[in-house]
């Protein structure tokens, strides 16, 4: 909300400059966004009189003028053609400045000295609307009466100096979307008296009538329209509004149209109540009905756009058609025309929620709708319409007809709140005296009677003691609040198991050289296809109703596409290596939770993505083993996975605890790499942190350091390629019983001698009994069992050392 200091001064004395005023108001709750100081950018521009105009000898379009600046005469060369001798014009002298940082200096124009510039309305930062009668592309010709001001500063003569503050008004304070409301805030904040220039309006009594000039009003949707007041003006003379009004409208950023429309806008700015004016003759049957729109009903609004409505929208209608979308915009069919004779001023209050929805539906957010949607006072509506007709009389725009039509089905409730001094001080942590509280409240027009605070009609936001506390505090001063620490029982600040595990996992990965990434949860259908996510999973994606773009349409059912995209970005930037991880969520609509109004499954997922010179499947596997060891998940199997299409079918595995898959890892499928233009092999891992937490054992247990010596045996064998070393290890472990301390694969090779489709593997086994030294016989028995089993089950062929 923009307000000029000049207008605010009508409500309060202001004895500080606008910057200081802005600071003070910011600290009492009206935050300043910008301060515009108009006129400061115009320097050394004066009133001049053109004495003589001569053609420039060396130019077809230039003229040489002699100008009287009061105490001096100068020569100025110009290309303008709308000046004549004797005209009074603004002159930018040598060394002057114009809006937009334009600097004017003495110079030669085709050989003739020019000591400045004569210029147009636009070059002064003004518009033709501000100065009717001026032309757009020509010199601004000033009134003859200014001849006595020759040589004087144009900023003073035309009164161009103006400070305008733009305030950020919070949605609970629609009353401050008005100069009156801001004026009240200024007065309270500066500790001045609020001068109420509208006292006559407050006290005005206007007779209620059923019908004025044949006009009648009915409300058929009282749930959406709380009050509708109409007053009529006849013998209207449509004309430009006076300079002072245009000027104030402009300061608030509103364009001047004509006197009647300007009055509606002026009252809205002054009092915060949007108004509407229309031609009585455009109202069929002179009968206004405030009703719900019919489904599919159409109306062309003042901006010449056709809008389609439904029964949730409220319209102002005559007997045949809608003439306005209530609270949003008037209809073109009832617009004020230059020949309009009788005007109806409408001041109404609509249910804010409905206006908000309607404005959204038709895609029109207007000055009016943005005020209505916050909930306006029905009491203020009457003041506004009376003020409007007062202005009509004041500027002689027409003849006001006695009486008002006032349909007021739901009387505005006035809120009363107990002034509980202790509660307020406890809530704020202050020691403000009761009388001080009352003084502040009364300055804000909140009357206190018998410890009951009565909210004024324009403060519908005040409902609770907490609201009073805020009012008191903001005037008392937020900066006077002390700082204390909570005096209460000690509470335990500790991470829960999942949070601890998540933190530990991140630490292991960072210490292993991985960098953490953050990705968006959004994906597109195309992303899911590029990553070859299986269809069943794609079906579980959650669709956003109003996405930013197709690219961000779905909530990902898996984190794979996000990681693939990040790898692709890095590959595209020619980064030779990338080792990345991400802890974030997937989102899965498993059983139509979303459609049933329930929260869908959202699991905490660790994703690792890597490519580069020193990584392969086993690097990734080792990383995950370290992660699991760190968080105490000790019993798991690594099982080959061939069906997950995002991965290389021969290089993918699941990590399982029992039958529960806690992680999938492997080399990215070459087709997926191609889809993402990644030129190197890449590796991917997805692990479910929630499951890891479930299988994480609480504590590590100390195992006694061995006292008896170990026995080491090596074993080498030839097996078919199809045999997984995991199978061999399982047999070794099983047959060695509890005496096996460790089994380690130390060699694996293939050559012609062994034959195609076969491989040689060699293990080092360490045996130990924690109670005694093992004998050779014992070990030999075990080794024989192991070998027999390997031969029997896997067709292993033992190699002699």
């Amino acid at each position: 909300m923009k307000a000029s200091i000049e207008w605010l001064e009508e409500y309060s004395d202001i004895d500080v400059d606008s910057v200081k005023l802005g600071d003070i108001l910011t600290m009492t709750g009206s935050k300043v966004e910008t301060i515009e100081q108009k006129g400061n950018d115009i320097k050394n521009v004066v009133v001049g009189k053109i004495l003589e105009i001569k053609k420039h000898e060396d130019s077809d379009h230039l003229v040489v003028t002699q100008v009287d600046l009061g105490n001096e005469k100068v020569q100025i060369v110009t290309g303008a053609d709308n000046i004549k001798e004797g005209d009074i014009v603004p002159i930018a002298k040598d060394g002057s400045e114009l809006p937009g940082g334009v600097k004017i200096k003495k110079g030669l124009l085709r050989g003739k000295e020019s000591c400045g510039m004569i210029f147009s309305v636009g070059e002064l930062g003004l518009t033709v609307t501000d100065y009717p009668g001026q032309i757009e592309n020509g010199i601004m010709i000033l009134d003859k009466s200014l001849e006595k001001e020759l040589g004087k500063d144009i900023v003073e003569v035309l009164n161009l100096k103006e400070d305008i503050i733009d305030f950020e008004i919070t949605p609970n304070r629609p009353d401050c979307l008005s100069i009156e409301g801001l004026g009240r805030e200024v007065a309270v904040s500066l500790g001045k008296e609020f001068k109420n220039p509208r006292k006559n309006i407050d006290e005005m009594k206007v007779e209620d009538k059923k019908e004025i000039e044949g006009l009648r009003v009915d409300i058929t949707a009282p749930d959406l329209c709380y009050r509708y007041i109409a007053r009529v003006v006849k013998n209207v003379k449509i004309a430009p509004s006076p300079e002072w009004m245009r000027r104030r409208l402009k300061a608030c950023g509103v364009r001047s149209i004509n006197n009647i429309v300007d009055i509606t806008n002026y009252v809205m700015l002054e009092m915060g109540q949007p108004m509407h004016a229309f031609d009585i003759n455009s109202i069929e049957g002179k009968h206004i009905t405030v009703r719900r729109a019919k489904n599919g009903e159409k109306i062309t609004t003042l901006d010449e756009q056709e809008r389609e409505l439904d029964e949730n929208n409220l319209v102002i209608a005559d007997e045949k058609k809608a003439v306005a979308i209530a609270g949003v915009m008037g209809g073109l069919n009832s617009e004020i025309e230059n020949d309009t004779q009788t005007v109806v001023f409408e001041s109404a209050v609509f249910y804010g929620g409905s206006v908000r929805k309607t404005a959204k539906k038709v895609g029109l957010r207007t000055e009016a709708s943005s005020r209505f949607e916050k909930g306006l006072s029905s009491e203020n509506a009457l003041r506004a319409v009376n003020r409007a007709v007062e202005l009509v009389e004041l500027i002689g725009a027409g003849e006001v007809v006695e009486g008002k039509i006032d349909v007021y089905p739901t009387k505005q409730k006035i809120n009363k709140i107990k002034l509980d001094v202790d509660k307020i001080n406890n809530l704020l942590g202050t020691n403000i005296e009761k009388q001080d509280m009352i003084n502040i409240l009364e300055q804000l027009d909140i009357k206190v009677e018998n410890d009951i605070a009565i909210a004024p009609y324009f403060r519908m936001d005040l409902e609770f003691v907490a609201d009073l506390a805020e009012e008191i505090l903001r005037i008392y001063g937020y900066d006077k609040l002390e700082t204390t620490l909570i005096k209460a029982d000690t509470t335990l600040g500790i991470r829960n198991k999942e949070q601890k595990i998540e933190k530990a996992i991140k630490e292991v990965l960072v210490n292993s050289g991985l960098s953490e990434i953050y990705t968006y949860g959004f994906v597109s259908e195309k992303d899911l296809e590029k990553s070859k996510i299986n269809e069943e999973l794609i079906k579980k994606s959650i669709t956003i109703m109003n996405p930013l773009s197709d690219e961000y349409k779905l909530m990902r059912p898996t984190t794979v596409p996000s990681m693939m995209q990040t790898l692709a970005i890095n590959a595209n930037k020619k980064n030779q290596n990338a080792k990345l991880f991400d802890v974030s969520r997937n989102y899965r609509n498993i059983n139509n939770e979303v459609q049933n109004g329930e929260v869908p499954l959202q699991e905490n997922i660790l994703t690792i993505g890597m490519y580069g010179d020193d990584v392969d499947f086993y690097t990734l596997k080792g990383l995950m083993e370290n992660v699991l060891e760190t968080v105490n998940v000790n019993r798991y199997d690594v099982v080959k996975e061939t069906k997950n299409e995002s991965y290389h079918p021969g290089r993918c595995a699941n990590i399982k605890v029992g039958t529960d898959v806690i992680a999938t890892l492997g080399e990215v499928h070459p087709e997926v790499l191609m889809n993402y233009d990644i030129p190197k092999r890449a590796y991917l891992l997805e692990a479910n942190i929630t499951k890891i937490v479930k299988y994480s054992k609480a504590n590590k247990k100390y195992v006694e350091v061995p006292k008896f010596p170990a026995v080491e045996r090596d074993i080498a064998m030839i097996v078919d390629e199809s045999v997984e070393v995991g199978q061999i290890e399982k047999i070794i472990t099983k047959k060695s019983k509890k005496l096996l301390e460790s089994v380690k694969l130390f060699d694996i090779y293939r050559d012609d001698k062994i034959g195609e489709g076969k491989k040689s593997v060699a293990y080092s086994l360490i045996f130990r009994d924690k109670n005694k030294t093992l004998s050779d016989d014992e070990i030999n028995t075990i080794m024989n069992n192991v070998i027999t089993e390997l031969e029997k089950n896997l067709g292993a062929e033992l190699r002699k050392a």
Binding site: G29, K31, P171, G352, G353, K374, N426, L427, L428, G429, T430, A466, A469, E470, L473, R474, Y478, D479, L481, E482, T483, T484, I486, K487, A488, D489, T491, G493, I494, R495, L509, V510, N511, S512, G513, S515, E516, I517, Y518, T519, Y520, G521, F522, I542, T543, I544, N546, P547, M555, T566, K573, N575, L580, S584, V594, Q595, G597, V599, P600, Q602
Partner: protein
């Protein structure tokens, strides 16, 4: 015979002194100890001596032997030391050559800030709470005193899944969930991702991160809120940080405030980060609105509380000097490695 012994002594002493090689010294030592050694030879002739002379000569031989042994030892140490020095000289290295190290990775700047915030509040006895990102509208709005027609639902342009399910636009729904399930005292912070319908540019992102805090107990006051935030600001942004409250409005708190901190880049003198104002808008906060407490099953007559919330990216960007928010989500390894 005595002369003979002394002669042997002198000869041996000389050869030890002159020896400069540990190998030769060892040979000499062996030679001396051997049964055929010169002193042994002397001892063998002792039988020829008179009984009076025998102990005298015997003792002399022992003295000489001890003396030589000592000399050997000394010489040996001396030569070993020399040898070591020679070896050390050959093992000289250039300490400025590149190191051999395991390359470390890095935590994302957002995580680093969240961790820092968590540590501060854990230390003050807060728990960390978590909740769904795809959330019910009732938790994101209704319970937080923002009913369906409330204009605040417009301010935060929200992504909807259905009319009732949305992407949380703030982490406050976590607060509502905790209040519903836990009796006061409640002291929590809720860090996490939130979603708003903003297009991606240098200062906006449809996904960003917030940390919100909530305290509900008996006699919680606004000065407690200010004190808590001041403590947080000092620990997170520097001991000299000052805090300033300005009135504001949020549907879920009353009174509400915006808190500014003295610029932690320039210390309040005015710079690019604080746009010359000396203050940076840090967070929104206030006393929990009585309707919110009521909606979550807590009696506002008995309990009061405060809440606050701020954006993590903004702090990360100001602290690390990152000027474009997009860098945080692009994840270029050359960017990530710097943290």
């Amino acid at each position: 015979m005595k002369e003979e012994i002394l002669k042997i002594e002198e000869a041996s002493q000389n050869s030890i002194k002159e020896c400069e090689d540990i190998k030769l010294l060892n040979e000499l030592k062996v030679k001396n100890k051997k049964k055929k050694g010169e002193l042994t030879a002397v001892l063998r002739t002792m039988g020829k001596l008179s009984p009076e002379e025998r102990p005298v000569i015997g003792s002399l031989v022992n003295q000489v032997r001890d003396k030589l042994t000592l000399l050997f030892e000394q010489k040996e140490k001396e030569l070993q030391k020399k040898e070591l020095l020679k070896k050390l000289e050959t093992e000289n290295i250039d300490v400025t050559e590149p190191s051999k190290k395991i390359t470390l990775g890095s935590l994302h700047p957002i995580t680093q800030i969240i961790n820092e915030v968590e540590e501060i509040f854990l230390g003050m006895g807060y728990e960390i709470a978590d909740g769904p990102e795809v959330e019910k509208a009732i938790y994101n709005f209704d319970k937080l005193n923002t009913p369906p027609d409330h204009p605040a639902r417009d301010i935060q342009d929200t992504f909807y899944i259905t009319e009732d399910i949305l992407l949380r636009s703030q982490t406050s729904p976590v607060q509502a969930r905790v209040m519903e399930n836990q009796k006061p005292p409640i002291k929590i912070i809720c860090p996490g991702a939130v979603y708003r319908s903003d297009s991606v540019d240098a200062t906006h992102s449809p996904v960003f991160h917030q940390v919100e805090g909530l305290v509900v107990d008996k006699d919680i006051s606004m000065t407690d809120l200010k004190g808590t935030l001041e403590m947080f600001a000092k620990k997170c942004l520097g001991e000299n940080t000052k805090i300033r409250f300005r009135p504001h409005h949020f549907p879920f708190t009353e009174p509400s405030a915006e808190a500014d901190v003295s610029c932690f880049v320039c210390g309040g003198k005015g710079c690019r980060v604080c746009k010359g104002e000396g203050w940076i808008e840090l967070l929104g906060c206030g006393m929990v609105h009585p309707n919110v407490l009521k909606n979550c099953g807590i009696d506002p007559e008995e309990y009061s509380g405060f809440a606050f919330g701020f954006g993590v990216e903004r702090i990360a960007m100001a602290k690390f000097g990152i000027e474009d928010m997009r860098l945080l989500f692009e994840n270029d390894v050359r960017f990530l490695k710097q943290f």
